[in-house]
Assembly symmetry: C2
Homo-oligomer: 430 residues x 2
């Protein structure tokens, strides 16, 4: 690499524009730390005239990012568009093939095409870095690849989606319902204004879990179909009842080796208010890692937002500028294992079940009989009548049971006219 | 570097012997990750026959570690003796001068001679790595040097001494006094059997804080005299009273830039039972870092013991085997700043003061008058009589005041016959 490093930034949304400003204001500090001068030689976005927080140099603007490769000599490219396919993939692939280092916060892209992209990067002996794709403010990928490199990791889990965590915390604090809090989150920039779905349905956390699995277990990014639930079905009622039980609802991403098989999942969990994870609130992210010989390691920090994301993107930049050529997944893609999938039917948890029922004699026994039939034993029942509407809410906390059992058991209630809606199920963290 | 890397391990105490076993059992995994074969070609300790947890190969044993340099070709040397000077320093210096990479968990050595040793390493373009010197299970140094590299860090603090944290937690849990719990800690291997002083008087945490400061603020390791207190004066009484006030005592190391001046300290702190840091118990360590743009980052993990320490030592090994030549302090020693020292007299805190006094009329007013004279205003007083012994305990929680004020105020009580012993002072975390 020469002493002046040419940089392109593709995608000038919230993250891209913040990054661009950081690159401009931290030039000197970066030179001080690495001995390299950086120069932004190209930027690209769909709309040159969109209102942005920081000004862009229109002389280096490209509407079509692929044109950059024809017109400019680029050493390092930041991809901050964020799609799993389409132009994001095209830009990253093209760059890697042209021996241009790539840095991206794009978890959708890496969790879907990471194996292939890493292969191209490796072949060309350049870097593909994606520290910012998981839990921005927490240097978790680097910690797994380097700081904890020789540990045998058995489990990694945590709060990986700041939007969901903010909404759950805010519902509890403000006593407001999901829709109202979502609106507030959108206003504050914690949730996407147009389409917050990928944060709320668990997909975002799931993409991150896939990346964490690959790094933790030295395995290929899995393609298995997995248990993925978001927070969309959580009602204020659930949060209030949980609180009365000294519990709190958290959306957790979990990846674990069970009998050498990979188990990845994202779903809301009931955790103790006294536990560490139960006290990670607001937009905070936290990752808990169990390994040998290190024991339990916890890393916590701001998960989203342009500040923490830029911090991670710049750490990748420094790594490249310092001349560290690294395998994107720590080891060569050819050495990554392909792990068998753990059968989700065998996943075992205590359950929180909420039934909304007609307030009629015999309804409770219909439910408890059905549970008994599937040998799901009950730890606790709370029934709250809503006399005015002739309804009742029945909360059941069960002892441990398998997913298979639970699914079979609950299926019947769809056709039970006394049960007014699909029961809400939240697993207790075991 | 060749494909087979020759390794020497000097010092075969708890850490050294565990490391040696890890090196032997993880050979294949290390080769898998780095493509390099490692071979332990020399080990050294004072006593060849000492009973050890794992067997050593006596054919490669050296009583005098300096002989290793004459007889063996070594690529990487682990120093695990642990002294700040003497043979530890001699071995490390000799290795670096002979262009042998050095990995060490020795915080005493690095915090005292780190600047000079780093200079030698840099000059010879080899690595001096010391991730294990601070909070073993937490990859904190690597996170500052790399993962958070472009952040402007303003403060870093935390629980850095597992022994002290264990003793404080155990005193609270078991209701036993300092001496009894120390004995238990020694039995369990959490405290040095012969001389636990360096853990208990704050020195160990202080050495770690000096290393963290240098990395966080890109400055030379400071030589300033600083406020350092350990947990030796904490009595069970203090822990019980703290608990009644919903507080907990933690030994904190704190490093902060105040008006661009460096403030480093180690002392016991009263923290809220509800706070994050108030819930880091047992042998756990935790580091909290405030930076821009990353916000607050928290890292928690097991701090001591051969497992976590080996995890850190091996991460250093992998970094070297992967061919990353790195400046020991992230940037060249010549570029490290020399920071002015913040005047400790200006350090401001609320205080917990415990006076043991004769139960006589007028004693309380002597104390409160003295506080008033120094404009230290009182938030709370708790007086508990001990009628049988004609004594009383007076606890005073003050509003914020400076160290200077506080020292001047308390000095008088040394000559006050009604005050039976030097008052205990614990600062509240502000």
């Amino acid at each position: 690499m020469n002493n002046t490093i040419n940089i392109a930034v593709v995608g000038l949304g919230q993250v891209g524009i913040y990054l661009l400003n950081e690159l401009n204001t931290k030039k000197k500090a970066i030179e001080h730390k690495t001995g390299k001068k950086i120069k932004v030689v190209a930027v690209s976005a769909r709309n040159i005239n969109k209102k942005r927080k920081f000004k862009i140099d229109k002389k280096i603007f490209f509407k079509n990012p692929l044109e950059i490769f024809k017109k400019k000599k680029v050493d390092i490219l930041f991809e901050a568009i964020g799609l799993s396919d389409g132009i994001s993939k095209k830009v990253v692939e093209t760059a890697l093939k042209k021996k241009i280092n790539v840095i991206t916060p794009n978890k959708a892209l890496i969790s879907k095409h990471g194996n292939n992209l890493a292969k191209i990067a490796e072949k060309n002996n350049i870097n593909l870095e994606f520290e910012a794709s998981v839990a921005g403010g927490i240097p978790i990928l680097r910690s797994i690849k380097e700081g904890l490199a020789t540990n045998k990791i058995s489990k990694i889990y945590g709060i990986l989606n700041g939007t969901s965590n903010y909404i759950l915390s805010e519902m509890e604090d403000s006593n407001k319902n999901f829709a109202d809090v979502l609106k507030k989150a959108q206003k504050l920039g914690y949730a996407e204004p147009s389409n917050p779905k990928l944060d709320l349905n668990g997909f975002d956390a799931f993409a991150k879990i896939r990346i964490l699995s690959a790094l933790s277990f030295n395995s290929k990014i899995s393609k298995h179909k997995c248990l993925m639930e978001g927070i969309e079905k959580i009602e204020l009622k659930d949060i209030i009842i949980a609180s009365q039980l000294n519990l709190r609802i958290k959306l957790l991403g979990i990846s674990e080796l069970k009998n050498n098989q990979l188990f990845e999942t994202v779903h809301p969990c009931l955790v103790s208010k006294k536990s560490y994870i139960g006290n990670v609130n607001g937009v905070m992210n936290a990752v808990i890692l169990e390994g040998k010989p290190v024991g339990e390691s916890i890393l916590q920090g701001e998960g989203a937002g342009p500040g923490p994301t830029s911090s991670a993107l710049l750490s990748d930049l420094l790594s490249i500028l310092r001349g560290n050529i690294k395998k994107p997944f720590g080891v060569s893609v050819s050495k990554l294992k392909t792990l068998m999938n753990y059968n989700v039917n065998n996943y075992i948890n205590s359950l929180y079940l909420r039934f909304e029922v007609k307030d009629q004699p015999g309804v409770l026994s219909q439910i408890t009989n059905r549970l008994a039939k599937y040998k799901i034993s009950i730890k606790r029942i709370i029934q709250t009548p809503d006399k005015k509407n002739n309804k009742a809410t029945i909360i059941i906390i069960t002892h441990k049971t398998s997913e298979l059992n639970c699914n079979n058991c609950l299926s019947i209630f769809k056709s039970n006219k006394n049960v007014l809606k699909t029961p809400t199920l939240i697993r207790l963290l075991s």
